[in-house]
């Protein structure tokens, strides 16, 4: 249980820490230390197990389907890293207490720092690769937030984004790599993966997986060519740089290489990819570090170089090299963290990090200077310090590498060269900062020693450097052994951690490096001059430029594709439909089914030809809008006749009434529109459109022809058989509408209702200025309501209502029904609007259309729900026959009530649509509309209806 706790504690702390922010820096620092200390304490009991080569495992199933379990594992390697993370973490917390200013957002800082600690622990303690992956990406994200902690700094924001881009992107590659490994192995549990090393390496996908994993590791550990993000991450507050970007996070990549060593290492691909990357990084980092004037820049590039060194060691693939790598991880963490902290102190006390200005600090802060110098010496590889030991091992390993032919010379030469540079930049760090004359133009002058406690973390680390340097076996021996064994998967080879191995070639290389470095530093002016001939590459600017231009291109591309042309989108849709239907239809070909064609009677054919001609004419004459409108009503009329011709009386009636309403609506709309469409599309485009239209039309023709000539049986037999007995009506279409498929109808009237509401809402507050005349030079006539029409409209209303009632009542047994009746009523009322005007009519309608719609829907729903009371499902209909005296036999069907709902909804919705459009006419505006914008109840309009 303690392992998940170790990971969890810092997260809990992260949540708690901001609460202590009110209490000031000390309170929050203490509060943040507690979880780390507990975690540290929780690790100790396991030491004995680990020292014996054992492993502590904890597993909890989380997402078995995914292969993701909450499993943690503590072995030597993870212990080594966990200790680094926790110990340095605690020191950083302490250090940051003094580093941060009280007015800064310390809650956020400590919260994030602890988050980072937790996720870093997660990486090293996870026993499941996917789980590790999760923590891996969290470290990238938290690092992003920490680098950009000072969000007002442009450099910080850019550096953060660059870091996130590189490490996050690498993380995605790593994810792919891990997934491949998981697929090969069949498990993501570390034990299984490590045990499956030979299988992985033999698999065809091994090179892919390896490359992807290495991409992840290299980006995180700032290896060439991904090293560029790290120096820019130094925009972060120094504790962050010290912790994340030198001691821990950048080591995650190295940890990963070490962790997967048994599974992936030992092949040629591994060797070449890892060691050469490491070599390149080692040299490049060291070279650049030499020329950085920024204190943290120097340290950052030196970190890159050292990371390259460790990677190179791991790449060598020998067991001893691995031991050396791990050893250097410890050493580098100690001296580099302390150096960063020292740099932070200097920055803190002088206000700058520019080494050209910081000089001769020895006089001002001897204590700090001493500490920094020791640490720098360790970085340079001066004997008796820990850096020397691991570097010595590195030199030895570089010599032991058996490369073919002259290549064998490469590693030692590179190593020595890098050593020279390392000594040079370390010397620069010491000499330039603490000696070398007097400070120049310091923002804070004179500098002082920092607060006592700020130096303690540095002191502890420097002390560690010394201890390890002088008594390696006692101080780190057991830990290193455990870690090495855990890494290699077998007990570590014999090696001696001694300060002196005698006079041998590695020692000679060290000397060479030492004196070469000093020499180089003394000749630094020349080198600087040489270096200055090359233009400084600002990776951040390049990165920004690349991202910006990517964005710009993407934007252009988007704008070009999504160009706001409805026609293009419609064309794409239609062409897509044509494309997908093309294959089956072309396979089918022009197909006449077994039923064959029935003979043509010429009146139908003639009217069909008229229909076709009108359709095509509408398309051809569409620019003359009114004409097109007339033509399309011809099409509508002929469609209605088609329904008559082919046995669909209900459809005929619906089509006819809808047609009328549509024409009125279009006329209403046309008033505001230009009466003429100019030619806007080029000839080519028109030809293209005609082609598409023709294809669509012929496709539909072929399909229709195929359908019409096929024999067919459908579920309709059931409807015909049950219409009377089950639905109580002879008109099967109507029974389907109100009973068999009444639910469709409910949906349909909802659509009408919603459309009406939407239209009403949409036209609210819309003002449109109609053109002054019809575009032919005639102003519109003044007269609005001609006498004759008005007078005829009066008797038309009751008569039409009568017809409507008739159509409604007979609907169940004969063609008709609620829809058609509703439309007749609506049209009759529209006639009143046309004849007598908007406000006149509006005054005489007893019910708000809103309420009419709602009532209609309610009727329909309630009729349907009525059956629930009798234990039948929704919309179950019932009917019966009642014999009244005189009147005779009378059918009562619940479907009729449903149909009444349909009727009301149709009337309300249709009128609401048309009236809403009519309302925007400037002539209608004279009368105040029920205020739609005020939110309080508008009761007056409800009661104000005149009833004469």
């Amino acid at each position: 249980m303690s392992l998940p706790l170790v990971v969890l504690l810092p997260f809990l702390g992260a949540m708690a820490a901001p609460l202590f922010a009110q209490g000031g820096r000390t309170a929050i620092a203490i509060a943040s230390t507690v979880p780390a200390l507990i975690a540290l304490a929780a690790l100790f009991p396991h030491w004995q197990t680990l020292a014996d080569g054992g492993v502590v495992l904890y597993t909890y199933e989380w997402l078995p389907a995914l292969g993701l379990s909450l499993s943690f594992r503590l072995d030597g390697l993870s212990l080594l890293f966990a200790l680094l993370i926790l110990v340095i973490g605690i020191l950083i917390i302490l250090y940051a207490r003094y580093y941060l200013k009280p007015e800064e957002n310390i809650g956020k800082f400590y919260g994030l720092l602890l988050c980072f600690m937790g996720s870093m622990l997660g990486i090293v303690l996870s026993s499941n690769l996917l789980l590790m992956m999760i923590f891996w990406e969290i470290t990238s994200l938290v690092s992003f937030l920490l680098i950009s902690f000072w969000t007002h700094k442009k450099g910080a924001r850019r550096g953060a984004r660059m870091a996130l881009t590189v490490t996050g992107g690498g993380g995605l590659a790593l994810l792919a790599g891990i997934l491949i490994i998981g697929q090969i192995v069949g498990s993501y549990e570390l034990d299984d993966v490590l045990a499956a090393g030979p299988i992985i390496k033999a698999h065809a996908l091994y090179p892919v997986a390896l490359t992807l994993v290495l991409l992840g590791a290299f980006t995180k550990s700032a290896q060439f060519p991904f090293h560029f993000w790290l120096p820019h991450a130094m925009q972060a507050p120094t504790p962050v740089s010290a912790y994340l970007h030198s001691a821990t996070m950048v080591k995650a990549g190295i940890f990963l290489l070490a962790r997967l060593y048994p599974a992936l290492a030992g092949t040629e691909q591994w060797f070449y990819m890892v060691s050469f990357t490491g070599m390149a990084t080692l040299l490049l980092g060291a070279y650049i570090a030499m020329f950085k004037h920024d204190l943290k820049g120097l340290l950052a590039n030196s970190t890159i170089s050292h990371l390259g060194l460790i990677v190179l060691l791991l790449g060598m693939g020998t067991e001893l090299a691995t031991v050396a790598a791990l050893f250097h991880v410890i050493n580098h963490a100690t001296f580099k963290a302390s150096l960063f902290m020292a740099a932070g102190i200097i920055d803190h006390e002088t206000g700058t990090r520019d080494m050209r200005r910081i000089n001769g600090l020895w006089r001002f802060m001897p204590h700090t200077a001493t500490l920094a110098m020791v640490a720098a010496a360790s970085m340079a590889g001066v004997p008796l310090l820990n850096g020397f030991l691991s570097k010595e091992m590195f030199f030895a390993e570089s010599l032991a590498l058996n490369l073919p032919g002259y290549w064998a010379w490469l590693p030692p030469i590179v190593a020595t060269l890098a050593g020279i540079f390392a000594v040079a930049y370390s010397a620069r760090f010491i000499h330039d900062v603490f000696f070398n004359g007097k400070p120049i133009n310091l923002p804070i002058y004179p500098p002082h020693e920092p607060p006592r406690y700020m130096k303690i973390p540095v002191e502890i680390l420097v002390f560690a450097c010394l201890m390890v340097g002088m008594f390696p076996t006692i101080s780190v021996g057991p830990l290193l052994y455990a870690a090495s064994s855990a890494t290699l998967g077998v007990p570590a080879p014999d090696y001696k951690l001694a300060v002196m191995h005698g006079l041998n070639l590695p020692l000679f290389m060290s000397f060479l490096a030492f004196f070469g470095g000093l020499l180089m530093y003394s000749q630094r002016k020349r080198f600087f001059a040489f270096h200055d001939r090359f233009r400084e590459i600002d990776e951040k600017a390049i990165f920004e430029k690349v991202v910006f231009s990517l964005g710009l291109r993407a934007n252009r591309f988007t704008a070009a594709t999504e160009n706001g042309s409805l026609q293009r989108y419609v064309m794409l849709l239609i062409v897509s439909a044509l494309a997908v239907a093309f294959l089956p239809i072309s396979e089918m070909g022009l197909f006449i089914g077994s039923n064959g064609l029935t003979p043509v009677d010429w009146p139908t054919a003639t009217l069909g030809a008229v229909l076709i001609a009108s359709a095509l004419a509408t398309a051809a004459m569409h620019r003359e809008r009114f004409f097109a409108l007339v033509l399309i009503s011809v099409v509508g009329l002929l469609t209605a006749l088609t329904f008559v011709r082919f046995s669909a009386p209900d459809l005929t009636m619906t089509q006819l009434s809808v047609e009328v309403v549509t024409v009125v609506l279009l006329m209403l709309a046309l008033y505001y529109m230009p009466s003429w469409t100019p030619v806007e599309s080029s000839r080519g485009r028109r030809v293209r459109d005609m082609g598409i239209a023709l294809l669509a039309g012929s496709g539909m023709t072929i399909i229709t022809l195929a359908i019409l000539t096929q024999p067919f049986s459908s579920i309709s037999e059931f409807f015909l058989a049950n219409s009377k007995t089950g639905g109580g009506g002879n008109n099967v279409v109507n029974v389907i509408l109100v009973d068999f498929r009444g639910f469709d109808t409910l949906g349909e009237i909802s659509v009408l209702a919603i459309a009406a509401l939407g239209i009403f809402a949409m036209l609210k507050n819309t003002t449109l200025t109609p053109p002054p005349g019809d575009g032919l030079g005639h102003a519109w006539a003044r007269q609005s309501h001609p006498t004759m029409l008005k007078q005829i409209a009066r008797p038309m209303l009751p008569m039409a209502l009568m017809v409507s009632a008739f159509i409604f009542l007979r609907g169940h047994n004969l063609p008709g029904g609620g829809f058609i009746a509703g439309l007749i009523t609506a049209v009759a009322l529209i006639l009143q609007y046309i004849a007598s005007g908007f406000s006149w009519t509006e005054d005489r309608i007893a019910m708000r259309y809103h309420n009419m719609i709602a009532l209609g829907l309610l009727f329909a729903v309630m009729t349907g729900a009525g059956s629930l009371a009798f234990g039948y499902p929704f919309l179950t209909s019932t009917f019966g026959y009642i014999t009244w005296p005189v009147v005779g036999k009378f059918e009562l069907a619940s479907a009729l009530v449903f149909d009444l709902g349909v009727y009301l909804a149709v009337v309300g919705a249709t009128l609401m649509m048309l009236v809403s459009v009519g309302r925007i006419s400037p002539h209608s505006a004279i009368r105040a509309i029920p205020s739609e914008s005020s939110h309080d109840a508008d009761t007056t309009t409800l009661t104000q209806r005149e009833t004469e």
Partner: protein, 122 residues
């Protein structure tokens, strides 16, 4: 007979599609209307053609398939609601932009040909 019917559907579809591809709202509305006529006829055709066999029990010797008729009825009404909405939306568009052009950015319109200025009576 089937051929005439099929050709009519084809013509309606073709006309509708052509109109849909025009650059102004009004032709687009017309196109939608016409396309929906075509589609309604097509859906109707899925129950095959029959003469004088209206699906009203007791009035014919045999009955046409009533289901497509019911579906088409629903489709007509829904189509009407949708057409109404588009019409009003295009009015709103006109109100908002003073133009019923819908083919992309009005500034980047294809140059109008000389026919554009030519006027004929309604």
């Amino acid at each position: 007979m089937e051929l005439v019917f099929a050709l009519a559907i084809g013509a309606l579809t073709a006309g509708g599609v052509y109109l849909l591809l025009r650059a102004r709202t009004f032709p687009v509305v017309l196109g939608l209307t016409m396309l929906s006529y075509g589609v309604n006829l097509f859906l109707f055709a899925s129950g095959r053609l029959a003469t004088g066999s209206q699906p009203v029990l007791g009035t014919a010797a045999q009955y046409a398939d009533p289901l497509p008729q019911a579906l088409v009825l629903t489709a007509i009404v829904i189509g009407f609601a949708m057409t109404a909405f588009v019409v009003v939306l295009s009015l709103r568009n006109l109100a908002d932009h003073g133009d019923d052009h819908v083919d992309g950015d009005p500034k980047k319109r294809t140059p109008t040909s000389k026919h554009a200025r030519e006027r004929r009576p309604l």
